[in-house]
Amino acid sequence: MTGRDAERSGAGPINGVEHVLDVRKLSKVYGAGETAVHALRDVDLTVRRGEYVAVIGQSGSGKSTLLNMLGCLDAPTSGRYLLEGLDVAYLDERQQAVLRNRQIGFVFQAFNLIPRTTALANVELPLVYAGVGRRVRRDRAMAALALVGLQGREDHRPNQLSGGQQQRVAVARALVTGPALLLADEPTGNLDSRSTADALALFDRLHASGRTIVLITHDDEVAARAERVVVVSDGRLSETARR
């Protein structure tokens, strides 16, 4: 399996819903009482299938909080979140796990690779939980690593990789299942200009193959590649002009 195949599979409407993401009056409050932090306040956001959205905003404005919610990693304090038209709040633990595994590829701001485990095993992990057989799993993980330019590094452990390389392993892990929705929290934050360009080219290809991408960035150049840019400031969302 090649990188091109990985880009092609898993695209296209799943059950004919136009909006992949549909967020309504979403709020998130951390803590309670005096120390409560309103990380998100009544956020509305819809993302169409195949859209490429960049989220920008100052540090601490609530970008990661929003993305975690979109990735079903956290639950909102109030509001509704429909993924593929499905209200996530009504899914049980198992169903959410399946959703995260099959539909979403998530790149964390802090990489979150499993320590003391090789790059290859890290990238294979989502495929194991998807029930993919050993050989296929290995081939696809190798292809995903090749896609991010890490061939020859598959046996390295996270502590043997540079920050940028770890980030690329994280990207490979998010792509390996061929998810329809890619959520990335500053995926180019630790990359040099060349690697950034490579990563952006990769995102462009994924976008071209019909995947929905939401990524957080501080980099104007990265934001410029997206179709649409939303700005988060102090927990509120505003749209910049569509291209």
Partner: protein, 402 residues
Amino acid sequence: MSVVEIVRFAVRGLVANRLRSLLTMLGIIIGIAAVILLTALGNGASQYIQGQIAGLGANSITILPRQPPESAGTSGRPLTTGDVRALADPQGAPDVASVSPVAQLSASVDAGRSRTDATVVGSTPTYFPGANVQIGTGRAYTDADVEAGRKVILLGRTVADDLFGVGSDPVGRDVLVRGVPFDVIGTLAPAGQGQGLSNPDENVLAPITAVQGSLTGFGDLSQIVVQARSTEAQAAAESEINSILDRRHGIEEPDNRDYQVLSARQLADVLDDTLGAFTLLLAAIAAISLVVGGIGITNIMLVSVTERTREIGIRKALGAPPSAILGQFLVESIILSVVGGMLGVAVGYAGTLVPLGDFRPVVLPSAVVAAVAVSAAIGIFFGAYPARRAARLRPIEALRRE
């Protein structure tokens, strides 16, 4: 997500955290080995002591003269041949098999080149079975020897060694007991230490008539050795002895007795009580080490899972269902507990192979089963419980735990 994959994750997790896995296992190994070893020690000691008691001659009863207390108002009567005859009467004492009068003194024994001190025991042939004394070489003296007052003698092993050299057979030689010549007709089998009231290895045995005729004079007896018909009959024999002697010595209060009855049974009773307490003590120590080992296992399992909450968060974020996470940690705990348990049994068993003085520890199978079961249960519970809690967290919460 198959069982094979879960097992593979578990093994990979254990190998990735080699040191911690080893330490966890060490806790289990020590806990189990300690329990097995301690109970084996207690068991071995108890079997050893029971063996020693059996060696005392379980049917043997010794009667010694005793100074009655002041309150009795009398100095008491000595043990006499009259007492021996009364005790030997099958009507009055049906449970008594034999009665042996004993005239005893300490004397120097001289073999020309060398001399030593020994206890001279003058008695009748029934003394040999009565006091559970075995012949080593030569023969025992006979009733004919007693009747004729022949000066024949059997030497205890230590005495024979001292006089004629280690392992020698002095049958046919002569010795002087306090200057009186005796023919050596035999030696006693080595008894080892701790047999009965005196050490037979340091005794010399001769017919009572010869001892009284040439050494002590025909006076009172030093003791009377009685053999009961059987081990079961011993208690009955003791009470028959008491009633006969009480009558003959004019004793109304048991506290005022001018004699004392000693038996292996009494010793066994005392030792049984002591052993019971000893076994209980060891069981308590074993239980404590099991609890301590259990706390150790609990601790390290909790730390191990808590430390990996972040990993659990990552796995959840990538789509691991709660069952897969719980399964992985459960299998890890089971592997640790089972492997640690088997190693613990092996170490504990190896420890019991080291002989300690005279006795060998004897492994109790029930202790093995209990130790393995308890530590496995603790290991699995405290491995699985925090994993279950972590598996229920939202991924982002698990990821935020440090």
